[in-house]
């Protein structure tokens, strides 16, 4: 009888805990929606800020965040996927590759403000890109690398080894095997990792603080060497730097940022599940 009771107790606790995890997420969402939904209008989404940012909209910040996310993708994806393929398919287990792995793990642990300072030193000043979309994208890309490399490597390793052996035994080259047997099946996992990484990059403030973000810049950027506004930094500015800022605008801005990041996560989940369903083995 005792074993059954312990069992019930354990299941009860575990179930409760997993529901508790959902509560804060739901609360954040409900809180943001309740306070922010009133501030969202077509004007808010399609106009630049006016009157010391207390009126108008947040269009430059929304577009800035979209540009930065795209830039991050372009900077990080080729590097990350290349590294993941190398580590999982080509590299043998030796001191060098262990060092590379160690570096990747540690890259993931670096605080984002440190990335921001590094971006300032390396891209803005040393490479003379200036405070620009280019410098910001590279900084965010660097920060995104470890996440994307790890998930991509995991996805590549989850492709059954037999497919590789069969492909090689039929006279395919190493690269043909990767191209035709490994990458197609690893793709859903890779895409998921990329989008999750981008979701994180889209919401980061510290790395863009010194590298790209503009305090107030109603004009849209004309090239990758221009500064831009961005949602996370804009949110920081309007909630701490401007006295008398209407609360509704702050919540509405937060809600828009939250929706962008959440929609990226949802897209990743959708891609993963739809591609899993089509898998044959």
């Amino acid at each position: 009888m005792k074993r059954q009771q312990t069992q019930k107790l354990a299941v009860g606790i575990i179930t409760t805990v997993s529901f508790l995890v959902v509560v804060p997420i739901l609360l954040v969402l409900i809180f943001m929606i309740a306070n922010g939904i009133g501030g969202i209008s077509w004007t808010f989404l399609s106009q630049p800020p006016r009157s010391g940012m207390t009126e108008g909209g947040i269009l430059p910040a929304i577009l800035g965040t979209i540009f930065l996310t795209l830039g991050t993708a372009i900077a990080a994806i080729p590097l990350a996927i290349g590294a993941a393929i190398y580590l999982s398919e080509y590299a043998s287990d030796n001191r060098l590759t262990r060092l590379i792995r160690l570096a990747i793990v540690n890259l993931a642990g670096i605080p984002s403000i440190v990335y921001g300072l590094f971006g300032l030193g390396a891209f803005v000043l040393f490479l003379n890109f200036g405070t620009s979309i280019l410098a910001g994208s590279l900084t965010l890309g660097l920060m995104t690398l470890p996440v994307v490399i790890s998930t991509a490597e995991e996805a590549i390793l989850s492709v059954p080894q037999e497919f590789r052996v069969v492909s090689l035994s039929l006279g395919a080259t190493r690269w043909q095997t990767i191209r035709h047997q490994v990458l197609p099946h690893a793709l859903p996992g890779i895409i998921t990792g990329v989008i999750l990484g981008l979701g994180r990059a889209a919401g980061e403030t510290a790395p863009i603080l010194f590298t790209v973000a503009a305090f107030y810049l109603p004009e849209l950027p004309q090239s990758i060497f221009d500064q831009t506004m961005a949602l996370p930094y804009h949110l920081y500015v309007i909630s701490t730097q401007i006295p008398g800022m209407p609360m509704e605008i702050q919540y509405a801005t937060a809600l828009v940022l939250l929706l962008i990041v959440l929609s990226l996560t949802l897209i990743a989940t959708f891609i993963r599940s739809s591609m899993r369903r089509r898998r044959e083995w």
Partner: protein
């Protein structure tokens, strides 16, 4: 013809997987063209390892160490100059566990050819049809070539994998237990097709059982603990084995 050259000649071959255990010890074997050569012995005797060495799939096991030579048509396959990709097309392996690649039956059969750069649809179609006929699978799948290979039964998958190797028109086929998990009827079909295949190919096979070895072998080698104990023609080895260990194994005293 008194002393024809062997198709494959294995000379003083040693192999270890990097750990202490020696997988193969001083293997010497000659395999003639159009011969059905059987490698048999208890599990872990080194049969599959030997097969994997013959088309250098052994390269994939990291830390594997080998000594000695394998000559294919008289030239060494471990030499640096050898194009491994080409070697694997000419000495083709069929694995014990049938593994279709994701995709259709047609995709599977044309994979090796397409990777080799063959694009001509008529030739591909013709190779597909011929290899399926040779593997005794054509009648069962000819109307569903463009459906998933994973929908096939176990026996059909096994023959698909055989056909997939045959489509490359290799010179030597390495068969690692091609009837594992097959029912007796499918086994008979495969064994019958082996007799036709050896007209055209040299076949080296690890059998499912001693009985199967005795049924299909032209020549056979008995392996034990990574060593060749005895080599002989079918009637010698299975009817009058010279070595006591071979006799014990063939008569089922150990296995």
């Amino acid at each position: 013809m008194s002393n024809p050259k062997p198709k494959l000649s294995i000379q003083n071959l040693f192999f270890t997987y990097g750990d202490e255990t020696e997988a193969l010890r001083n293997i010497n074997l000659d395999i003639m063209e159009n011969e059905l050569f059987i490698l048999f012995g208890p599990s872990r005797s080194g049969k599959s390892t030997l097969l994997r060495l013959m088309n250098r799939l052994s390269d994939l096991s990291e830390g594997g160490q080998r000594q000695g030579k394998i000559l294919f048509n008289g030239s060494g396959i471990f030499s640096r100059k050898v194009d491994v990709i080409n070697l694997r097309r000419r000495i083709s392996m069929v694995f014990a566990i049938p593994t279709p690649l994701p995709g259709t039956i047609y995709d599977n059969l044309t994979y090796g050819l397409k990777m080799a750069g063959m694009r001509d649809k008529a030739t591909l179609d013709e190779r597909v049809a011929r290899s399926l006929q040779q593997a005794a699978l054509w009648d069962e799948v000819k109307d569903r070539l463009h459906t998933s290979a994973f929908a096939l039964s176990g026996g059909q998958k096994q023959r698909l994998c055989l056909a997939r190797s045959l489509a490359l028109e290799p010179e030597v086929i390495l068969l690692d237990n091609p009837t594992s998990g097959l029912d007796p009827i499918s086994t008979t079909i495969v064994e019958q097709s082996l007799h036709e295949l050896k007209q055209q190919y040299t076949i080296i096979m690890v059998p499912h059982s001693v009985q199967q070895a005795a049924r299909v072998a032209d020549k056979a080698a008995f392996l034990l603990d990574g060593q060749v104990i005895e080599v002989g023609r079918q009637k010698d080895l299975f009817v009058n084995p010279k070595d006591q260990r071979t006799e014990d194994y063939v008569t089922g005293r150990f296995g």
